[in-house]
Amino acid sequence: MNTALKNIRRTPFQALAAIFVVSITLFVVGIFTLVTLASHSILLNFETKPQIIAYLKDGHTTDQVAGLISNLTSTQGVKNAIYISKQDALELYKKSVGNDPILLGTVTDWGIVTADILPASVEITASDPKSFGTIVSILEKSDVVSETPASKKEIDFPEDVISELTKWTNAIRMAGLLLIIALTIVCVLTIMIIISMKISSRRLEIGTLKLLGARNFYIIKPYLLESVIYGLVGALFGWVLSYITLLYSTPFLAPRLGGVISFPIRPEVILLLLLSLLVFGLILSFISSFFAAARFVKRSK
């Protein structure tokens, strides 16, 4: 360890370059990890919400509804189909508007909002957005689904929001992954070059150690330790930068994603991120220096 620290003190600018590159790489890794987690939460939120709502005619029978639900649930790609009665609809409406007297109709001319004015419906959640077409086709053929004055079935569905969202999140993940791969390569090459230069500058000492009977691991150990220090310190800085970014972006993100992600982010998530970055930094730096050192030691006598 003393030799590793001495090597760092001897060449502070090389050490700074290595730590800087590792920090930037792990900062990007940290940010994209958070973005990936957030996009996963957003997607999960959309997926667990009903995606298609079919409003039912007044005066429908229980058998008609049971038949429709049975037909839907036996269709491939349908996760579930739930019947929402007029009373359930009223409860959901109240829950969504809270205590707003205007929206509840208590202070309007048309009186209190009651279950009678709200339609019953069937809410369908699909496990695969590709099944939307089949579901809509079943609903359009159903007699129990109500129609608009223009004889159009009253079916609400967010078209392919999920599919679009999935596409976007996948694109973000892919872009993040490519950026991380590119930065990781730069990081590995930088550490390899720095460690190779250091080893090269001490080749006479390494030669002497070999002649004294040192094993290869004894020779490369200080360089591995030095690199691991770069990796760990870089990971720590990368985490601090990610955390600062998260703190500064919270006031912007909280109102927009508040319903989907809980802000502030839980401390255990932040600590898990630190741990992951430290492990990633450790592996990254160890592998880079190991290849640099092993290659040199193997070539030298």
Binding site: T208, K210, L211, L212
Partner: protein, 230 residues
Amino acid sequence: MIDFSHVTKTYSGDTVLDDIDFSVSPGEFVVITGKSGVGKTTLGRLLIRDLLPTKGKIIIDGEDLSKIKPKNIPPLRRKIGFIFQDYKIIPDKTVGENIALSLEIGGYSPKKISDKINRLLDMVGIPGKENLFPVQLSGGEIQRAAIARAIAADPPILFADEPTGNLDKETSIEIFNLLKKINSDGTTVIMATHDVTLIDLSSARRIMLEKGKIISDSESHSTKPKTKNK
């Protein structure tokens, strides 16, 4: 213990050692003499498997160095303390740290290393210099530090390559006496030198090299026939 059997070494067609054939018994003190460039250093490098012979065999403790596996080279080198002609003392490490290298490589604990360094420095005649850097020492002191490093891990064999090459006569004699003392403690010592003063002083076995060949061997402790072409 050490057996050079018809060893020839050539570098790019130049024969440096030619049909070298001798044995060294445990505890012997052997002086290998000859002018500069006759192959004394090459002999030492062959001994620690830094070089491979072009022809012939080198056997140490029954192990043929040509057939030794790479993983067994470090243990072999730990059996042979080597005093290098150019000292090979690491300039940015203190005397103590340089000596500690041999001990660390030999697997000694930090406590034992510290104790042993002090004893070694006393033995080689530079007590209390463990915290000095090589640049703060005289040539003789650096040579003593190199000897201390070579014998630190108690190797059974010590090869000294021109140990007095850059030293004055008085210091050379002191170094030579130190090597004799190390030998009297049971270490097999092979000293390569062109220093006539030391050769004259020495009552040890002398092997003389000329143009890569053994031209004389003062005494045979080996059962092998020797080439004596005076």
